[in-house]
Symmetry: C2
DNA sequence: TAATAACATGTCAATACTTACATGTTATTA
DNA sequence: TAATAACATGTAAGTATTGACATGTTATTA
């Protein structure tokens, strides 16, 4: 499917960037729905260069440190826009180790079952707080048509997802403790 | 991490099964949080056999068709229970192609942006209806401590997740159409 | 009874992803 | 100024996963 390809092209469609800067972006807001390691980014940029989807110029940082500033080409932009305009079928639900564990958890002592649920709730609550803090930094909702608006929509999606997860975990805990 | 290992051991901890039956289970309720292809199951069962985590007996179905009925061993059960009782750190958020697409969607015409959102909503609504149908087949909430109870909890989780996704998508559509 | 769907088990090649290895520069701060 | 963190770019080995290839049996239904 080469989705990483489109993740990178999408960024370079906004502005020229180095591999390192791309990596940093994937550690930030994007990490809520896509994660990549630098060991995957550099080879993919190399491949995209060979395919003519991107080009780069070598910039000197300081006195000797070379860095590659990548730009999207017209070919790359066309390929990206084609992907962006398409509707995509939902993929198989993502794997979640915790839900698998919960699925089998009847084999545990009831207190332990509640404990792992509470542990998970704690982790998701922490993430939710973090996301809400990010949201508050927006101040008001960005204008439609801007990239900030899209940033806001996906952040909202991450918040709604965490809220739902926290509420579900609380429901589970209540049901486990009932009378 | 070998999570597939625990997915398989967890099933065999409930009852003896063939590779084919395991595969069928991963196409059912489990598919909401774990998916596996048969091409991954058979080699993993082979490996677990070599490791002494499972054993099998060959059963004859009909007159000649051989099938392998797998059982968990004491070693396998101990390893599984160790995993089951542990608390696990949340993994990096699962990859979602649609959210990546939405993140870049400011480069699209506004009507197209709304169209892909509505398409996604349609797909998630369909899945939600399907999950609710499954829930209604439970009749009432199963008793705590049974495997049915765990089945119910993870189904509830899938429903809450889809509800949140649908609500978020509606929010996005409204925000795109505002005034 | 012939066709078809479901049962049943595997391998292989390719892709995707992670972890560790490997190296060196530049900016900050103690 | 010395240490440290951040910048910067790669490779290699191993694990995980998918999709295609490969084969044959049994049950159902038209």
């Amino acid at each position: 499917m080469r989705i990483l390809k489109y993740a990178l092209l999408g960024m370079l469609n906004k502005q020229d960037m180095t591999g390192y800067e791309l990596m940093k972006l994937f550690e930030g807001a994007l990490s809520e729905f896509w994660s990549v390691k630098h060991s995957q980014i550099y080879p993919e940029l190399k491949r995209l260069t060979e395919e003519g989807m991107v080009t780069y110029t070598v910039e000197i940082s300081g006195s000797v440190l070379e860095k590659k500033l990548y730009s999207i080409t017209e070919l790359g932009r066309q390929d990206f826009m084609k992907w962006l305009g398409q509707t995509h079928k939902m993929k198989a639900t993502p794997k979640e180790e915790f839900r698998l564990q919960l699925f089998y958890s009847s084999a545990l002592a009831p207190e332990r079952q509640v404990y792992i649920l509470e542990n998970q709730l704690k982790q998701h609550n922490a993430r939710l707080e973090h996301l809400k803090k990010n949201q508050s930094e927006f101040g008001e909702v960005p204008k439609r048509g801007t990239y900030e608006f899209s940033d806001y929509l996906v952040l909202l999606g991450a918040i709604r997802r965490e809220e739902a997860t926290c509420n579900w975990l609380k429901e589970c805990i209540d049901m486990c403790k009932e009378d």
